[in-house]
């Protein structure tokens, strides 16, 4: 098993004032979520409804997808199906080629990150401009987003100032957020006006209407879709919901869970192309049907990508999104990514203390921390364990199954720590790097009990 997360986290943690800032910023968002949720007496009821609607949808997925396709086609929308990321990228490339398009704007879509669309199009000399402010910042820096809702949360305004100075020619050292945002705004305005094609994600696709909803705070999805002649919307197949009225549950849950807002600034409903416009929807599987077939993990597909589990995760807040080395980081990423590539992501389910806060904030009640535990069992059973860890665990299991051996080992261990403390207090002991060892007592509880306790007569 690779220890990638631990190593990347250690690098991020080296700059402690920055980690403190990162942690406090995300905790602030978590607290905003708490206030928004506590403000609704029916919050737990909404979560229950959200969870049940999604459970029902996952159990009847093929029917709802077919219904959606029919309705969308009847509305004049082109519907495409992609089995994996490569097919998704190829479909988009073909649409671009058909229209001989050069300038493309994209609003935030974690699916296109998952499919590595930007890199693919770049290889074909097609430039895509990310128009979400945070995504534009990380795109300039050639970095992936570190958070699915707040893509540049790992960066401070000084970093943004330097990036904009290099790419947009802003004044060096001017860290004024107003000034920097205005520069981005002007830059992006031009990109919107010039663009011929807009790519957006999809938050909810409604089976009964064939329409879809895109949620943004910056209005960038609308700016793109309204100016370009071609609009491509990309969605993982789990984005489907049965009826339009279900939006009344999910839109209320989504923004409150994500940022503590009652609703996103823009919840844009797309139903049919305007005159002269083309709308395409690419519906992607990319491992989702495999996950759907895994009994213990299928309900991870209920996720509505609010990132509440990121903001509450004490590990994420201190290790940063890039330590998860995948498009979707955080606790939800750690139960989704092993399905995509178990070997490459074998470290992720272990990047958690199993504190359970993620499951508590999840608006659709995914049992995230229980799935992390279950993934650990699967990953070890599939043979992705570190050899040394396996030896240690086998020895430990033997020890604890033989009480006499356990007691002897315990006594020897404590004696060694007392007589030869340097054998444990050294640089090879990871615990000891930043922590003292517990002081070994002369006798165990059992030893004390045999002398002082009332011995159980049945023994």
């Amino acid at each position: 098993m690779t220890a990638k997360h631990a190593a990347l986290a250690e690098k991020f943690i080296a700059d402690e004032p920055r980690i403190n800032w990162h942690d406090e910023t995300l905790w602030f968002v978590r607290e905003k979520r708490d206030k928004a949720a506590h403000g609704l007496p029916e919050w737990e009821q909404l979560r229950e409804w959200g969870s049940q609607i999604k459970n029902h949808t996952l159990s009847n997925l093929s029917n709802y997808l077919k219904e959606f396709e029919e309705k969308a086609k009847a509305n004049g929308i082109f519907v495409h199906w992609a089995q994996d990321g490569a097919e998704h990228n190829k479909i988009i490339h073909q649409i671009i080629q058909k229209h001989k398009i050069q300038k493309i704007v994209k609003s935030k879509s974690m699916l296109t990150e998952e499919c590595h669309l930007n890199e693919y199009l770049q290889q074909h000399n097609i430039e895509v401009v990310d128009t979400d402010l945070g995504e534009r910042i990380v795109q300039f820096r050639k970095e992936p987003p570190s958070h699915i809702v707040l893509p540049a949360i790992h960066l401070k305004k000084e970093d943004v100032s330097e990036t904009f100075h290099q790419h947009l020619g802003t004044e060096k050292g001017n860290n004024d957020p107003q000034y920097l945002t205005e520069a981005a705004r002007q830059h992006l305005r031009n990109k919107f006006v010039e663009s011929d094609l807009a790519i957006t994600g999809v938050n909810f696709a409604v089976a009964e209407t064939g329409g879809f909803v895109v949620c943004t705070n910056e209005g960038n999805a609308d700016m793109g879709a309204h100016t370009a002649a071609v609009h491509i919307a990309c969605m993982g197949f789990e984005k489907i919901i049965p009826r339009a009225e279900h939006l009344g549950v999910f839109l209320r849950l989504l923004a409150r869970s994500a940022t503590g807002q009652p609703i996103t600034t823009y919840s844009s409903h797309f139903q049919k192309p305007r005159q002269g416009q083309e709308i395409h929807i690419v519906i992607v599987d990319n491992g989702r049907s495999k996950q759907l077939g895994r009994e213990d993990f299928r309900n991870s597909l209920k996720c509505i990508r609010c990132a509440a589990c990121f903001n509450t995760c004490p590990v994420y807040r201190r290790s940063g999104g890039h330590s998860y080395h995948t498009a979707v980081a955080g606790p939800i990423g750690s139960i989704l990514n092993p399905n995509l590539d178990m070997k490459a992501n074998a470290d992720l389910p272990f990047a958690s203390t199993l504190c359970g806060s993620c499951s508590n904030v999840c608006p659709v009640k995914i049992n995230i921390h229980e799935q992390l535990w279950k993934w650990r069992q699967v990953i070890i059973a599939e043979g992705y364990a570190d050899a040394s860890k396996k030896i240690a665990m086998t020895a430990m299991a033997f020890l604890f199954s033989k009480p006499k051996v356990y007691r002897l080992a315990g006594k020897m261990g404590r004696t060694i720590m007392q007589v030869f403390p340097f054998l444990t207090n050294n640089k090879w002991n990871v615990w000891y790097k930043q922590r003292e060892m517990p002081e070994p007592p002369k006798e165990s509880f059992r030893d004390w009990y045999l002398k002082n306790g009332k011995i159980n007569k049945n023994e």
Binding site: E10, W43, V361, A397
Partner: protein, 245 residues
């Protein structure tokens, strides 16, 4: 009422005083307490590392030791949660199921089964309460900031019966300390940073002691406190509840 005391392995080996305080406290409160002598571990270290399949021997030993009691009590939320969720024994499935039902963490046993209303204890110090995640979110020993249930805390309810104690809460009352079992060594950097942040919030309250229901969290925090040369000490909640200073 036949009560069996389960003293988790690391408490047995490194923190015998926690076991002693638990035993004395239960006996003071009128329980007939047995300590099955061949007990070892709950199996959690293996299972949380993905090796649940290796813990069958350990599980069988647990069942052998703890079957047949009315209640099993342990001074550890984490080990109790593990038993409740994962104890299995193919040869004695009914006994394992009984144990899963009858095992209690110390503070929930005191509040829910013994229904303790007063304690003859005194602890004249400033104390910060650390909620262990497995006790809190797993066993619901107290309300959680993420959910909408009314405020309550079984450990605090008991600590408030102790004379002259000055209780305080850290700013983030239910943030994880970063111990996390083998996480504490495999993710050492994150683990220690999480622990340091917990300690900073307790030290801002100028506490003499950090207490809690899980010695594993406290052992991790103690390691950092000692390395930092801090005057703040750790103490298990059983030791405070059993204290007659």
């Amino acid at each position: 009422m036949k009560v069996a005391l389960f003293v988790p392995c690391y408490i047995d080996q490194f923190y015998p005083n926690v076991g002693i305080a638990t035993l004395q406290l239960l006996e003071k409160l009128g329980c007939d307490v047995a300590f099955p002598l061949e007990q070892s571990c709950c199996g959690q270290p293996m299972a949380n590392s993905g090796f649940a399949s290796l813990s069958t021997g350990c599980d069988a030993n647990f069942v052998k030791n703890f079957a047949g009691f009315d209640y099993i009590v342990a001074p550890s939320g984490s080990c109790v949660l593990h038993i409740k969720e994962h104890l299995h024994d193919a040869e004695n499935p009914e006994k394992a199921s009984e144990i899963r039902k009858n095992i209690y963490e110390l503070t929930e046993f005191l509040t829910d089964i013994l229904k303790v209303k007063s304690l003859n204890a005194r602890f004249p110090f400033k104390v910060g309460m650390h909620n262990s995640c497995h006790g809190q979110r797993g066993l619901h020993l107290s309300s959680m900031t993420e959910t909408m249930s009314p405020d309550f805390s079984k450990p605090e309810q008991l600590l408030n019966m102790v004379k002259d104690i000055q209780l305080s809460k850290p700013k983030r009352n239910d943030e994880c300390c970063g111990f996390g079992g083998t996480f504490c060594v495999f993710e050492e950097a994150v683990s220690v940073k999480m622990g340091k942040d917990r300690i900073a919030e307790h030290e801002a309250n100028e506490v003499d002691f950090i207490t809690g229901g899980d010695t594993s969290c406290l052992m991790h925090l103690e390691g950092i406190l000692k390395r930092q040369g801090s005057k703040t000490k750790i103490i298990h909640i059983a030791e405070i509840l059993n204290s007659i200073l």
